[in-house]
């Protein structure tokens, strides 16, 4: 059984085809990285998988079930969570409350219970708080538990998003450039964190430009370019793949 697979997945924005006839299969367990030059369509792929975009064409399967037409919150409900390349923290809340929001699916949301603040709501609040404290400690944000989210430095916000995503208890966690903008020490910490998340049984899909991180951490690597599948394999295979080298050199050529 594959955990996620996509068939002929396509997303175009006007004239730009960001994801083009993509076929992928992700097996459960471990860390799969999606790499590719800037504008390859990695974030668009994540937006499609998490239901933020509707595909122009193609299907998406989650645990062999067609989930193409599910909306974002429904996908979260069946175990898919993510972080964002440009952080999307709830800046109007405390750091802890950010993570508590992640517990939403597992808490009492009944309206009447809420209005009357029944004991079950208080229990939910307590449980969310405990889970959130635990997760913030787990991702290394113990010092920020009582801080407002807008006081957190950038690196801490990236971890906060991971904690928040973990609070939904995902089966798959999509991480979009979790190490971007981090210094080497922070990157090492994120590296350890991602490894541990995968070890706990959550499948991780990682988009990241830091090749040292990607090559070290990934069980498999999928390369896409111009929205199309380019190569797939272990770090060793990808490192020596001529198509991949050409794609990245091509990019460097463009940058020059």
């Amino acid at each position: 059984m594959s955990l996620i697979s996509v068939e002929h997945l396509t997303k175009s924005f006007g004239g730009i085809v960001a994801v083009n006839e993509l076929d992928l299969t992700i097996e459960p367990g471990g860390i799969v990285s999606i790499i590719g030059p800037n504008g390859a369509g990695k974030t668009t792929l994540f937006n499609l998988l998490s239901g933020i975009y509707q595909p122009t064409a193609g299907r998406i399967f989650f645990a062999d079930e067609d989930v193409t037409d599910l909306s974002c919150h429904e996908l979260a409900g069946i175990g898919l969570s993510r972080t964002f390349q440009n952080v999307q923290s709830f800046m109007n809340m405390s750091a802890l409350e950010n993570v508590m929001v992640g517990c939403h699916l597992h808490s009492n949301q009944r309206f009447i219970d809420t209005l009357l603040q029944l004991p079950s709501i208080k229990k939910s609040n307590r449980e969310c708080r405990d889970t959130a404290i635990e997760l913030m400690t787990y991702v290394g944000l113990k010092d920020y538990i009582s801080a407002p989210a807008d006081r957190l430095p950038y690196g801490a916000l990236k971890r906060l998003e991971i904690a928040r995503a973990l609070a939904t208890r995902p089966r798959v966690l999509l991480l979009d450039e979790p190490a971007a903008g981090l210094n080497p020490r922070e990157t090492q910490e994120i590296d350890d964190l991602i490894r541990d998340i995968a070890k706990q049984g959550t499948t991780v899909m990682l988009v990241e430009h830091d090749m040292k991180l990607v090559m070290g951490i990934s069980d498999r690597i999928i390369v896409i370019d111009h929205g199309q599948w380019l190569a797939e394999g272990t770090a060793e295979e990808i490192r020596h793949n001529p198509d991949v080298i050409a794609a990245y050199l091509g990019e460097q050529g463009r940058n020059r």
Binding site: S50, H73, S81, N92, M93, M100, N108, T114, N125, D143
Partner: protein
Amino acid sequence: MNWRQPHTGGMVMLLAVMAVLPLFLDNSFQYEIAIKVALNAAVCVGLNLLIGYTGQISLGHAGFFALGAYSSAILTDRYGLPPMAAMLTGALGVGLLSFIIARPILKLKGHYLAMGTLGMGVIISIVLNQEADFTGGPDGMSVAALTIFGWEPVTEFQWYWIAVGFLALCVWLSLNLINSPVGRALRAVHGSEIAARTMGIDTTHYKVLVFVVSAVMACLAGSLFAHYNGYITPSKADFFYSIELVTMVVLGGMASTFGAVIGAVVLTVVPQVLTVFENYEMMVFGGVLMGMIIFMHKGLLPTLSEFIGKRFHEPDKR
């Protein structure tokens, strides 16, 4: 009860102020102001759930207030319903209406949502003005006295308790709502709608929910106002009243239930006491709104409590 929780403490303080205030009110004019403050504040508490917490503007809530007022007036007058039954019918009707409007209108964002809700308010106002057979048109109509299970409040003092009782109820419900998973979902919608959705929050559902709650609170306040005032005109559905309400919410503090109450107190009392403002009321409200947004966009109460918090609670800067 946990006294250290700001919610409990604030609620106790509010009840204490409500209980003590009559000692300082010594004529019917002052009671009248207090009653109007309480009803405005109740509307603001509901509106703040929508604007302050969920981040969705409405420039049409005066419409719901007026619908409440008119359903009480019309249902008691023309259909002979007892006032409480009329009030509940009105609330149900407005609940349903707001539920139907909410889905399409809350798809809009930012300026478009402001324009959409403004249009909604204007339509309600036009209907109330035009359907003169039912509403008495621009001249308005008189409203039967309120009876609650046979008891009829007559004195200002009794009305005071009805109004502040209703306000206390709204504040309590609002605090309960905010301090819950649903409340965090609402605030998450404000923070980042996309992120909220990826956390499993059905953002459309919650936006509709809070829109309906705020509409029903405004509607009930309108019903009470109609009975208290004994007379109602379509001016209560005016765009200007909607702006007043939004200004109260912004002044007191977005995303602060007690802030909304304070905003309503200040902006209801000040124009009444300083009658010099009468001709400039619109300008004053406009000025307050602009000033707050530019200099103190969190509003009075959050800014103050942050200031006090910084001075007294965090002497050790980490």
